[in-house]
């Protein structure tokens, strides 16, 4: 598969603080990646380094096949970091024209991209008159101007209201559906879960996990169970080698699976043992639960 970005042993120190520690991962074409981590885990610093605005301390990275300069490569990249930065005294259209000139692409696509983010009717308003949501959408339009090979978004929904968050997510999903590679940094787990296929988990500048979201934790899911014969159920579950952990919360029993088993198989098994379930749900851990497990394991 074609590599878009390769990072090898990247380290960044701000004085005594190590923001990124020996980080390596690869971004491949066509996937949607999430960089996940709590605040201050080095997400923005990592993106800053590959985007040519932060100097690395050690290690290296290269874009595409490694034969072009970073700033040349960035002309094929679309990126938004933290807050939308434009010239407040220029209109949306003038701002985008400037970006076109920097990227060396024609200005034909300005209207098309403004249409994508729903700002076409406001293109002649000055940037400083925009609301935060509109600014963020303009930033996305600007990042799309060159039809980028990869779109990098750093906390794109930060500070937006629910409606704005929904709009931005919809736009990101549409772009992903077109086959554009996306790298999305966020501390909002459900955001990453909804959009990404691959994930890199960082904590204190170190990589905890990188790979597919659904393989993040080797887990076969768990059952949530309710029955009138709770104590019998628990003793059966404890004797059975299929389950490694059983939790009880009031009348809800949660049993974690060791190996794959479908809900109907389990129901049959219980019925054979003479237990009638009043509640049976099979679930997988949400990304949030997986993430917390992953970060907890190291504590």
């Amino acid at each position: 598969m074609e590599n878009i970005l390769t990072i090898n042993n990247l380290t960044k120190k701000f004085g005594y603080l190590t923001a990124v520690k020996d980080l390596s991962f690869t971004i491949q074409k066509g996937n949607v990646y999430g960089i996940l981590g709590p605040n201050g885990s080095g997400k923005s610093t990592t993106l800053g380094i590959v985007l040519n605005v932060v100097n690395k301390t050690n290690g290296d990275f290269h874009w595409f096949d490694g034969n072009i300069n970073t700033h040349e490569a960035l002309k094929k990249v679309g990126a938004i970091i933290e807050r939308p930065n434009f010239y407040p005294y220029m209109t949306a259209e003038q701002n985008l024209k400037l970006v076109c000139k920097i990227k060396g692409v024609s200005t034909d696509k300005i209207n098309e991209k403004l249409e994508v983010v729903g700002l076409l009717d406001r293109k002649n308003s000055k940037f400083r008159t925009y609301s935060l949501g509109m600014k963020q959408r303009l930033a996305i339009a600007s990042a799309l101007l060159n039809d980028p090979e990869i779109l990098i978004l750093d906390e794109p929904t930060n500070g937006l209201d629910p409606q704005g968050i929904h709009q931005i997510r919809q736009i990101i999903k549409d772009i992903a559906a077109n086959g554009t590679t996306i790298l999305l940094a966020s501390h909002l787990l459900d955001e990453v879960e909804k959009v990404c296929s691959h994930v890199v988990v960082l904590r204190k500048g170190e990589k905890l996990y990188s790979g597919r979201v659904d393989e993040m934790i080797n887990s076969h899911g768990f059952f949530e169970l309710k029955t009138e014969k709770q104590s019998e159920l628990i003793s059966i579950l404890e004797d059975h080698k299929l389950f490694d952990k059983i939790k009880t919360e009031d009348d809800l029993v949660t049993a974690f699976l060791n190996e794959p088993m479908s809900a109907s198989e389990f129901n049959q098994l219980m019925f054979d043992k003479g237990i009638v379930l009043s509640h049976l749900v099979k679930r997988k851990e949400s990304l949030e639960e997986q993430f917390l497990q992953l970060t907890d394991n190291l504590n």
Binding site: V53, E72, N85, M90, K97, I102
Partner: protein, 275 residues
């Protein structure tokens, strides 16, 4: 190169404040020049015609106009300083780099713009001086007309040097107001250097020689004040008035050296900095 100048011109031209300042820095010296060349009648009490003083004669006119016009460089200096300050405060510098501009291109686009405006200012002043001179001057032979046009070159080098200094201060301090304050501080520092050199050598001449190497003084020295020269022409027999007002190659070289250093340092600063 054209692309980089276009970029910067768009940034400047769409900003109302810088547009006004650019306008002022071009139009004002022009107006002053034209106004001073016409006969001014003070409500019938007396008439003032500077042309009568002989200051619009070739070749001294080159000296006088470039000297006076160079004071208007402060207006454009504000533009230079704010074009860096704004990039930092709007964080557009960061965005420009992310969009694919290299740090070198960023500095070059500013520098090219400085050269572009300096060149435009020089050509304008050159043209205006030529026209006024042709109108007033007692001598219009080509050899005399084009004697001392090197003052134009000095004017150009002086502008580029001064704006490069402003560019460097802007990059260093990130804030326009601080950068302008630093210009004033540098002015004081240069006098402190003069004072220090005077203490060491115990001679004002030697101390001035040291000060001539400092950025602001070296730029000022490119075009010496012309008034003494005007007086000299009125009293040709007073030898103690004589001074060296010519543009020297060494003076030009010092300023070009400073310019190169300021641009290089600006680049180094940007390269080292995490944005």
């Amino acid at each position: 190169m054209i692309r980089l100048i276009q970029l910067e011109l768009q940034k400047l031209w769409l900003n109302r404040t810088s547009k006004i300042l650019i306008f002022v820095s071009f139009i004002l010296p022009f107006t002053v020049l034209v106004l001073s060349s016409i006969k001014i009648n003070f409500f019938g009490f007396f008439t003032l015609e500077l042309g009568e003083l002989g200051i619009f004669n070739f070749p001294i006119i080159w000296h006088i106009t470039t000297f006076c016009a160079s004071y208007f460089k402060f207006f454009f200096a504000i533009v230079v300083v704010s074009m860096i300050g704004n990039e930092y405060s709007n964080k557009t510098l960061k965005q420009n780099l992310i969009d694919g501009l290299s740090k070198k291109e960023f500095i070059l686009s500013k520098f090219y713009t400085i050269v572009f405006f300096s060149l435009a200012a020089t050509l304008l002043i050159g043209l205006a001086t030529f026209c006024i001179g042709m109108y007033y001057s007692s001598y219009t032979e080509a050899t005399i007309v084009f004697r001392e046009v090197e003052f134009l070159l000095a004017y150009f080098v002086k502008l580029v040097g001064f704006f490069s200094l402003c560019l460097f201060f802007g990059m260093l301090l990130k804030r326009s107001a601080f950068a302008l304050a630093f210009l004033f501080i540098l002015y004081i520092v240069e006098w402190l250097v003069f004072w220090g050199a005077y203490e060491i050598f115990d001679s004002a001449d030697k101390a001035f020689q040291v000060k001539n190497f400092m950025p602001l003084e070296s730029m000022y020295k490119l075009i010496d004040q012309p008034f003494q020269r005007v007086v000299m022409t009125k009293f040709p027999d007073k030898a103690e008035l004589g001074y060296d007002y010519a543009v020297h190659f060494s003076e030009v070289a010092i300023v070009i050296g400073w310019t190169a250093l300021f641009i290089f340092l600006s680049y180094r600063l940007l390269k080292k900095r995490d944005l």
